[in-house]
């Protein structure tokens, strides 16, 4: 049951409710290593909640959730799932990167310090080596010159690329993107999508909640369409977007495309 971290996600009969409102109802999903899965759907359909469950920002009510081949956040015993200690959960989280809609860079740290935050503050790595690696990662996302800038001095697109570099600095097997371009002005969307595209080509497992249908079609391997807490349709990205089978998917895509 315990395998080495492998970049896969397996979800079975997952349920999650906020008070009386059930936001995820019986979710089943498999994501293979190196797969780029785009989750689309109307707002309130549970896509962000599902993504947040995948790295423990939301707890799960019931169901099986395996990330990187391990039960995520819980330990299975004969009769129950027991919550892991904060320390063990933190360890699991270091292997799942997260990129937020609102970037959530630490405003009290420079871009380079943000990227170094994981390796230095969490993994207690060597500061010099981390600085060197941060510089490489920032160069990769096209921000080699901006290491000493504070988030407030960067544009939204630049901040989001720093956030991606920060997630990459932990060498995660999986990166989750929660509407990474929704808070950007249209001109800056392209630069973030370009970084994500190059990541996908390097074989990173990516789960992307997005409204960018162009990105889903071009970069996505699979598309998951969610509505009202259910996965309505899942399949090859170009298949689902070009020739949706479910009527609900058809009507959604008609409106957004």
């Amino acid at each position: 049951m315990t395998t080495t971290p492998d970049g896969t996600i397996h979800v079975r009969n997952l349920r999650k409710s906020f008070g009386p409102k059930t936001v995820l109802k019986d979710i089943n999903l498999d994501i293979a290593s190196g797969e780029v899965a785009c989750i689309i759907g109307p707002s309130g359909s549970g896509k962000s909640t599902l993504l947040r469950c995948l790295n423990g920002l939301e707890t799960v009510d019931s169901g099986v959730l395996k990330v990187n081949g391990e039960d995520f956040g819980y330990q299975e015993t004969e009769h129950a799932y027991h919550a892991l200690s904060r320390k063990r959960l933190a360890e699991q989280r270091t292997r799942v990167g997260m990129v937020f809609q609102q970037f959530n860079l630490f405003p009290n740290m420079t871009a380079a310090e943000n990227v170094m935050a994981g390796p230095v503050l969490v993994k207690r790595g060597d500061r010099k080596a981390a600085a060197k690696r941060a510089q490489e990662l920032l160069t990769d996302v096209g921000l080699g010159q901006f290491g000493h800038h504070y988030p407030a001095q960067l544009s939204g697109g630049q901040q989001q690329r720093v956030a991606i570099a920060r997630a990459l600095a932990m060498n995660p097997e999986i990166i989750l993107f929660d509407e990474p371009t929704s808070a950007l002005d249209p001109e800056k969307v392209g630069e973030v999508l370009a970084v994500m595209k190059s990541l996908a080509s390097k074989g990173m497992t990516m789960v992307v909640v997005t409204h960018e249908m162009g990105f889903a079609r071009e970069v996505g391997d699979t598309v998951v369409f969610m509505d009202e807490g259910y996965i309505v349709e899942r399949g090859d990205a170009r298949e689902v977007l070009g020739n949706p089978q479910e009527p609900r998917t058809q009507s959604f895509l008609e409106k957004v495309l």
């Binding site: 989280r93 270091t94 380079a112 969490v122 941060a134 510089q135 290491g147 000493h148 504070y150």
Partner: protein
């Protein structure tokens, strides 16, 4: 006069380039009336202060640097610094407890805060001074065994100790609320970002939450320091020879009540003004991260200067 400016510019319209004409502010009669009134009041008060012999300014001058006054000032400063420092530490602990997910812990903290904010400091000070009436002996040792030692509370709780304990415990309650307010000003997204990197609760607190809470905690703490400085005058009721009590001790002997109260007041004023300078400096320091002014990069200087030029 005002209308004259308007008329004048109308009549000469065209004689001067309109784009170069200065734009003048409108001064209303009530503004001039305000000036005149304020100046009259100021002159009245000033002349009264300077001419009324009962102020006895020569006595003020004589005692301003008197040794016992300066010693009292030192004790006031010590009480302020010590009780602020201890109160802030205890307040931080209370703030962390108050935001705990463990219900009994957070309830305990909020009970403490309610109790100490809900009763007057003066009452608390007198209470701590008389605590020996409640617990004559303090046992230090292992509970429910005979191992340990007893301490006589009456000798332990002298006036200065009681003042320090009273001020500290009271201040902690206020600081706890200020610090907690600062914590809650840090966005939920910041906490999620720290969690998603796998930060421990301690690291998250030290590196993410506290630095970002500082800009809202610092100004409020500055106000607390200034308030505490003046608040120490309350401990004069315990017979602690701080600034006010030192002045009182002199005028009890010489009956120069007003001049000595002026001496004390002037020292409180001077210290308050001195304290507001570091406070504004600290505010600037903690506002830096959110400002657009680039700061000198720390150990990590990775870029060419043209990057900074943007």
């Amino acid at each position: 006069m005002i209308t004259a400016i308007y008329k004048g510019s109308k009549e000469s319209a065209g004689s001067m380039n309109a784009a170069l004409k200065p734009r003048l502010r409108l001064r209303t009669p009530s503004e001039y009336a305000g000036w005149v009134l304020s100046i009259f009041v100021a002159i009245g008060i000033l002349s009264s202060v300077l001419t009324n012999p009962n102020f006895r300014w020569e006595i003020v001058g004589k005692y301003f640097f008197a040794e016992s006054i300066l010693r009292g000032l030192m004790l006031t400063i010590f009480l302020t610094v010590a009780s602020m420092a201890l109160g802030t530490l205890l307040g931080l602990a209370l703030a962390v407890m108050r935001s705990s997910h463990v219900k009994p812990v957070s309830i305990a903290a909020s009970l403490y805060i309610t109790l100490f904010r809900g009763t007057p400091v003066l009452v608390q000070l007198i209470f701590w001074f008389n605590i020996a009436a409640l617990y004559p002996n303090l046992m230090i040792g292992i509970p429910f065994t005979d191992i340990g030692m007893a301490i006589d509370v009456n000798t332990l709780m002298g006036p200065i100790t009681a003042a320090l304990v009273g001020l500290t415990l009271n201040e902690a309650a206020y600081m706890a609320e200020i610090i907690r307010g600062g914590f809650s000003a840090v966005g939920k997204g910041q906490i999620e970002a720290a969690d998603s990197l796998g930060m421990s609760a301690g690291t998250r607190m030290r590196k993410v939450i506290i630095p970002q809470a500082m800009p809202s905690i610092i100004p409020a703490t500055g106000n607390q320091v200034i308030g505490m400085f003046k608040g120490t005058s309350l401990v004069s009721v315990l017979g602690v020879a701080e600034l006010l009590q030192s002045a009182q001790l002199i005028y009890a002997r010489t009956f120069e009540t007003i001049p000595l109260l002026i001496v004390a007041s002037l020292w409180y004023l001077v210290m308050t003004l001195l304290l507001s300078y570091p406070q504004s400096k600290l505010e600037q320091k903690y506002n830096r991260a959110s400002s657009n002014l680039p700061r000198k990069a720390k150990a990590v200087q990775l870029t060419d200067p043209e990057g900074a030029a943007r």
